[in-house]
């Protein structure tokens, strides 16, 4: 239900071009658009005369990026640690849970509805509770990130394993005489694209988890806290610069993961 469709979407919308001009333009167009956007931004300020606090001009944002670059990146790396660990742990736990749920009917009937419900409700509401029980340190942030990253992987693992043709599994089982073999050679490879798609969603969710846990606890390490603190000082250019840093990290990690995904499922 909460399917992996939306993630696959962005590839379909802008398919990889085949011609050489197409490939060059794929690189050049975003840059052209970005230049155009910055100019429009500056023009917009000139036309509407918004005060620099409300909408800082590109020059100021660039100033923050240039002068406080290492500060920004340092904090982003702190957040990245949380994100990475949460993604890894959440992914593993999600996968294992997905396999268990799929394999044991009783577990599925018992746990799956709970998991789906948790997937669907705003998990951010649990954060004050988590802060109460685990304080405001790395543990709490890790928990939040795992909480957010866990469910997409579980859901997609279940969907992937469900789709395996039973005949194939039974054939391999009868040939080898063990369930494990069938699982390893048939179910897993078939489910792998789904699991990886789920992990891709989990990556986005891990980012959200990492930053969200920091936003609600200003004063701790990480870029989310810095953003909230900057808001208290109406330091809008810092906020925009931080968003750009997060976006860059996000794009890089997303494409890295996409590359990894393609390498692992080259046969699809």
């Amino acid at each position: 239900m909460t399917s992996q469709v939306s993630e696959a979407a962005t590839e379909a919308v802008a398919p990889a071009p085949s011609s050489r001009t197409g490939r060059i333009r794929r690189f050049v167009d975003p840059i052209v658009f970005a230049i155009f956007f910055v100019l429009a931004w500056q023009g917009f300020i000139w036309v509407t005369g918004f005060h620099s606090v409300v909408l800082p001009p590109p020059s100021k944002v660039w100033g923050v990026l240039w002068n406080q670059g290492d500060f920004l990146v340092g904090n982003m790396l702190d957040t990245a640690v949380t994100i990475a660990w949460g993604f890894f742990l959440g992914g593993v736990m999600g996968f294992v849970s997905g396999v268990l749920i799929n394999h044991f009917e009783a577990v599925k009937r018992a746990i799956h509805p709970i998991l789906v419900s948790l997937y669907v409700i705003p998990k951010a509401v649990f954060i004050p509770l988590l802060i109460l029980w685990w304080g405001v340190g790395f543990e709490y942030k890790l928990l939040v990130t795992v909480l957010l990253a866990f469910f997409p992987v579980t859901e997609n693992t279940i969907t992937g394993l469900n789709g395996v043709e039973q005949e194939m599994v039974e054939l391999t089982r009868s040939l080898r005489g063990s369930n494990w073999f069938g699982f390893r050679k048939v179910s897993l490879p078939f489910a792998l694209p789904f699991v990886l798609a789920g992990l891709r969603i989990a990556l986005t969710e891990s980012f959200i988890g990492g930053v969200l846990s920091e936003v609600l606890v200003p004063g701790s390490a990480g870029i989310g806290s810095r953003i909230v603190e900057a808001a208290a000082f109406s330091n809008t250019e810092f906020i925009i610069a931080s968003i750009m840093v997060i976006a860059s990290f996000g794009i890089v990690s997303y494409f890295l993961f996409l590359w990894l995904e393609r390498r692992l499922t080259f046969w699809v």
Binding site: M1, S3, V5, S6, A8, A9, T10, A12, V13, A14, P15, P30, F33, A34, V54, L55, E105, A106, V107, R109, A110, P113, I114, S117, V120, I121, P122, K123, A124, V125, P128, L129, I131, L132, N162, G163, F207, I208, G210, V211, L212, V215, L216, G224, I227, V228, A230, A231, S234, I239, I240, S242, I243, I246, A247, S248, G250, I251, S253, Y254
Partner: protein, 270 residues
């Protein structure tokens, strides 16, 4: 298991069917009861202070006592959610159509869309706070912003996935571009768009609640944070519970809408 059920339920009365469905879900009920028992057990065993882990009874008490407050806050949250969803949805939908017809925009926005999508929308709350001040505006803005990207991408996906044969058929009938869009492309894109709607309603709620937690003035998210600042944990858990229920209801509505509009499209895993 499934086949026996289908065969057996052929001639059962409604009561029998309801009973059978209840029976089917017994592991779930057992787990829920187990969680409740575990909760009580933890309090007894570790002797938690009611501030850390309040007994279920006090949570229920808080629920009943503050029910008016929850309903009021619920209305505010719901109103913000609907506004955000409609604004973001309409903008995303029209932008997607615009982007579809412009290859330049499509190529240039693709990586930017990805980047913006992976940035947690929370990070924008302080920005929107500066722009819209404290109040309904921030939350609606955040929800619209989040929904905008979702609907944009989903509509784009839908439009990109239209069967070319259908488009060719339309062209052979000398349909105008607009008619092509209206009668062939959009209906074909509808399943993907509806997935976006279904996910979007839940997503709007999540973002509104998060915004309410940060910009604490009104709404259900605010109630959670407020209870925390008063260190009334039982009220906090009660508020969380209300949000959870609303989340489920909203998702059910989204599912229903999707089913009603694209009943002709067989989705295997819904």
């Amino acid at each position: 298991m499934g086949i026996e059920r289908t065969l057996a339920s052929g001639s059962a009365s409604r009561l029998e069917k309801a009973g059978r469905r209840l029976w089917y879900h017994w592991p779930l009920l057992a787990v829920l009861v187990g969680i409740l028992l575990f909760w009580i057990f933890m309090i007894e065993w570790r002797d938690f202070h009611p501030i850390v882990l309040p007994p279920p009874a006090s949570v229920v008490e808080a629920l009943i006592e503050n029910r008016v407050e929850y309903v009021e806050a619920g209305f505010v949250t719901f109103y913000e959610m609907i506004l955000g969803f409609m604004a973001g949805g309409l903008l995303g939908f029209s932008s997607a159509i615009g982007i579809f017809y412009s290859p330049f925009l499509r190529r240039s926005l693709y990586p930017l869309l990805l980047g913006f999508r992976i940035v947690p929308k929370v990070a924008f709350v302080p920005l929107f706070l500066v722009w819209f001040g404290i109040g309904v505006g921030v939350k609606v803005a955040l929800a619209s912003f989040a929904i905008f990207f979702l609907i944009l991408i989903q509509t784009g996906l839908g439009l990109a996935g239209v069967d070319p044969a259908l488009v060719e058929l339309g062209r052979s009938l000398r349909m105008s571009e607009f008619a092509l869009l209206r009668r062939i492309r959009l209906p074909a894109a509808l399943p993907a768009i509806m997935v976006g709607v279904k996910l979007g309603i839940t997503y709007a709620l999540t973002n509104v609640v998060v915004a309410e937690m940060v910009v604490a003035t009104e709404g259900l998210g605010f109630l959670v944070v407020e209870a925390r600042s008063f260190i009334k944990t039982h009220e906090m858990i009660a508020a969380i519970f209300v949000v959870a229920i609303i989340g489920l209801v909203v998702f059910a509505v989204g599912l229903w809408v999707e089913r009603k509009t694209v009943f002709w499209y067989m989705e295997s895993d819904t």
